[in-house]
Every structure is written in structure tokens, then in C-alpha cells.
């Protein structure tokens, strides 16, 4: 898909995100499957506004914990909106009459992944 987008000259205008809502346990369980592990996981992005080849952050050797700087979903949302040209600090959305932030106010874009 990414190659298709690039060949068609669309990749600069499309943001592709590969992620899940949580990670998976470093070890398999008794059914040789993995359980939920929201404590540490990774994702990949390509396209619009993303620096190619950037690798940001790492886990501990056993894959269980973030090693060094960790990023919150709020940081991810600010990054997504920023590369799409949306001011994540100004925009609000209305929920039952209440204006709510579209990304956590105490988070910020991850500059290291942005071109």
C-alpha cells in the first residue's frame, strides 16, 4: 500500500499509521498466545510529514518496559494532527455542549519523527 501511494505521488498527502490500542505480553501464556500489555509497545508511521527512517524510543531487553523516554497517546495525537496541518492546541470538539481538547493539553508532538 505504501509503495502504491508513493508510485501514485500520494504519499506526501497521506499519513499511514500501523498501531494497535495496546501491546502484547513479552511471554506467551498457557495457550501459547499473548495477553494485553499496555505498559509498553510500538507503532509505525509513514507518509505525510514523517521523517523516513527515524527510530524513536526503545524497550528494555525483555520487551516489557519503556527504556528511556516514553510517549503517551496524547503525544501521538499531537504528532498526527501536526503533520496533517491541524493545530492540535487550538482545535476543540464539542461533546454534549462541552468543548474538549482533540489531544491531551499536557502532551506535545514528537519532534523526532517529524520531517
Amino acid at each position: 500500500m505504501i509503495e502504491d501511494l508513493e508510485e501514485r505521488g500520494l504519499l506526501d498527502n497521506v499519513l499511514v499509521i500501523l498501531m494497535s490500542e495496546f501491546g502484547r505480553t513479552p511471554n506467551v501464556n498457557s495457550r501459547i498466545g499473548r495477553d494485553h500489555w499496555p505498559d509498553c509497545w510500538s507503532l509505525a508511521m509513514a507518509g505525510c510529514g514523517i521523517k523516513q527512517g527515524a527510530v524513536v524510543g526503545k524497550t528494555s531487553g525483555d520487551g516489557a518496559w519503556v527504556d528511556g523516554t516514553g510517549y503517551d497517546i496524547g503525544d501521538l495525537f499531537h504528532t498526527i494532527f501536526s503533520v496533517l496541518g491541524i493545530d492540535s492546541r487550538r482545535e476543540r470538539y464539542l461533546y454534549k455542549g462541552q468543548k474538549l481538547a482533540i489531544a491531551h493539553d499536557d502532551c506535545k508532538p514528537i519532534q523526532e519523527v517529524m520531517s
Binding site: F22, T25, P26, N27, V28, N29, S30, R31, I32, G33, D35, H36, W37, P38, D39, S60, D62, A64, W65
Partner: protein, 363 residues
């Protein structure tokens, strides 16, 4: 000296060997003095049963999914999730290189290995759905047996050496003539497969196969009636077929609550059948059946095990039993914040005869 009398109701743990990583397969050596076990740490481990000494061989680059001892020459064959097969001399020094290797024996996971032709042939099968036949001395290819439509989980060779069977994800058991390397029929174990309308994947499969020692029966282990294709909980079951007619004769169940397949089927010399369950986050059992009775004649509670092997003396069983590190479930618990406790294995040898000391006390 004749072996002690077989008595499944006397089954008890005789020896335990703890291991720090999860292991999926464990088998006794043909000489009976050793056992080997393999799994997620990518090493081939060999233990001396008497002394407990362990040595390891390094060569696989991914989890090891299947193994079998050869009939001669101290050979041990292992295969992994990347489709690589190695042949080892299990009596060699630790870390001795393999005798030979097949780097691309399969496109991906090889789930079962078996020996046929009086030790001349190594059979492999797995996710690419093709049974492959290799020369045990050289690792050179001999034949391929296509036919399965989905991944193959299990292999078994008939005691008379003339046929082998293979079991797949869809519940198909294929018969093959050894030597001619040709199809020789099919048995229907479709009860061990589930694909409901709202499923996005097939669930279940023939996870273990075993012939009775007289060759008249074939047992197929797995689980039926899966409720979902996410956690895949189902009802563990063993189907027993009459080899001559190909017809299913019995369906056996566990006594304990359990939701995964029945693994490591072994027929014992008294005609009873042993198998071991798998259960998510909870204990299951090792069960012994005496068909036609469909519930176990005897069972021993324990956590999940993925294999079960009968010692050459017919009086002991070996199982790689799951040990929880306490970190399965929905994220890290508070007590594990400082350190992630990995899951592990305890390899258990069970005696299938009364303890002589207990027997003396009773009398």
C-alpha cells in the same frame, strides 16, 4: 529384570527438572537415559535423567517447534518457526554444531517431525501444508506429499511401518503409503475444527495423533466447538478411529474444566490412552482413558502441557508443563513493576507404577 507392573492409577511425579524458559516439546531418547526439550529459548536441551546434568546445543535462530529422536546413531532432529531443520548428535559435547542442516526445509513453521522406514526417513510438516520426506543420513530431499489444504499439526507412523498419517487444521487426517509416498485415504476428524459464520479464521485442528501399540486404533487429539476465534476456547476432545475401517468409534473427554486441545497422545501397552490438556490461565489435567468409556479412568491435575512422551520402558511419561511467572493477563500488576517475571517450564517425569515403598507400607 522385568519392569514393574503398569498401573495408571498409581501415576505420580517421580522427577522434576525446572527450566527458565517456556518449552513446547519434550521426548525421551531411544536409549532411555536422556530426554530432550525445546521451545522459546532457541536452544536444544538434553538432560541426563539419572544425574540431572543438562547440556545445550545452539543453532536455531527462532523458537523451536518440533523434534524427534532418530532410530540410530544418537541422532536428534529439531525444526523451528522459520522452517529450518537441524540434525544433532545428542551425545556430543555441548554446543557441537549440527551434523547437517536444511536451511529452507519449509517456508515457515514446521509443527511436526517423525521418523519412518526403520530410521531411513525424516518426515516434516507444518504451515505450508506439504509433508516432506528427507534422508536421515544426509538431509537430502526424498519426496513431497501435497494434499492438505491447511497447515499440518501432527504426524504419526503406523507400528507396522507401512503407513503414516498427518492431521491438519481443518480436521482432515490423510493416510500415506510409506515408500511409495502416495496418498492412501482420508479419515474425517472434522469435529476437531470450528469455523462459525462470524469467525475470521479456522480454529482447532488435529493437534496430536497416536496409533495403539497393536496398530488397530488411531487417536486424534484437539478441541471442538470453539466459541470464538479470538481466545479460541473450546471443548477438549479425542476421537478414536478403527484403523481397518477408518470409522470413528469413540469420542473421549476430559473430566477437568479445560478449554484447549489435548496434546501428546500416547497409547500404553495395556491399551489405555494418555493425553494432556491446555487451559488458559488455569490448571487442567493429564488424563488416562480406557475406551469405550469416554471420561477418564484416571486423571492428574496440573497446568498446561504441550507434549507427552512415553519412555521406551513403557512405565514413565514426560511432559513439559507450563509455569506462570504471574505476568499474563491485562498488563503489569503492581508487584511486577520492578521486574518482569517470565513464564517458565517444569519438565516432569511421571512413574506409571506403584511406589515400592508405599506398597510395602500398605502390605
Amino acid at each position: 529384570m522385568s519392569p514393574p507392573p503398569l498401573d495408571i492409577k498409581s501415576v505420580r511425579v517421580a522427577k522434576e527438572f525446572k527450566h527458565e524458559a517456556q518449552l513446547f516439546r519434550a521426548r525421551f531418547s531411544p536409549c532411555g537415559k536422556y530426554f530432550a526439550a525445546v521451545g522459546v529459548d532457541r536452544l536444544v536441551h538434553v538432560w541426563n535423567i539419572e544425574t540431572g546434568d543438562r547440556k545445550s546445543f545452539n543453532g536455531h535462530k527462532s523458537w523451536i517447534s518440533s523434534m524427534t529422536f532418530g532410530d540410530s546413531n544418537n541422532s536428534l532432529y529439531t525444526a523451528d518457526y522459520q522452517g529450518v531443520i537441524h540434525c544433532w548428535n545428542y551425545l556430543a559435547e555441548a554446543n557441537t554444531r549440527p551434523r547437517w542442516s536444511i536451511p529452507s526445509a519449509a517456508r515457515d513453521n514446521i509443527r511436526a517431525l517423525a521418523i519412518a522406514g526403520n530410521g531411513r526417513f525424516l518426515l516434516s510438516a507444518g504451515d505450508d501444508a506439504v509433508i516432506k520426506v528427507w534422508d536421515t543420513k544426509s538431509g537430502k530431499p526424498v519426496a513431497q506429499l501435497p494434499g492438505h489444504r491447511e497447515c499440518v499439526f501432527s504426524l504419526a507412523v503406523h507400528p507396522d511401518g507401512g503407513h503414516l498419517v498427518s492431521g491438519d487444521l481443518l480436521g482432515s487426517i490423510r493416510k500415506w503409503a510409506i515408500g511409495k509416498w502416495a496418498p492412501a485415504g482420508e479419515l474425517d476428524a472434522g469435529a476437531l475444527h470450528t469455523r462459525k459464520e462470524n469467525f475470521i479464521a479456522d480454529v482447532g485442528g488435529v493437534r496430536s495423533l497416536a496409533f495403539s501399540q497393536d496398530g488397530k486404533q488411531l487417536a486424534a487429539g484437539g478441541f471442538r466447538d470453539a466459541k470464538s476465534n479470538a481466545f479460541c476456547p473450546g471443548t477438549p476432545a479425542v476421537l478414536v478411529f478403527d484403523w481397518g475401517s477408518g470409522k470413528q468409534k469413540h469420542e473421549l473427554r476430559l473430566k477437568a474444566k479445560s478449554d484447549g486441545p489435548i496434546n501428546g497422545l500416547c497409547f500404553l501397552e495395556d491399551g489405555s490412552l494418555a493425553g494432556y490438556g491446555e487451559h488458559l490461565h488455569s490448571a487442567t489435567e493429564m488424563a488416562f482413558w480406557t475406551p469405550p468409556t469416554n471420561s477418564p479412568a484416571h486423571a492428574l491435575a496440573g497446568h498446561s502441557a504441550y507434549d507427552l512422551d512415553l519412555h521406551p520402558d513403557g512405565r514413565r511419561l514426560l511432559a513439559p508443563v507450563y509455569v506462570s511467572g504471574g505476568t499474563s493477563g491485562n498488563g503489569a500488576q503492581k508487584r511486577h513493576r520492578e521486574k518482569y517475571s517470565p513464564n517458565a517450564t517444569v519438565l516432569r517425569i511421571y512413574n506409571l507404577f506403584p511406589d515400592p515403598v508405599e506398597k510395602q507400607t500398605e502390605s
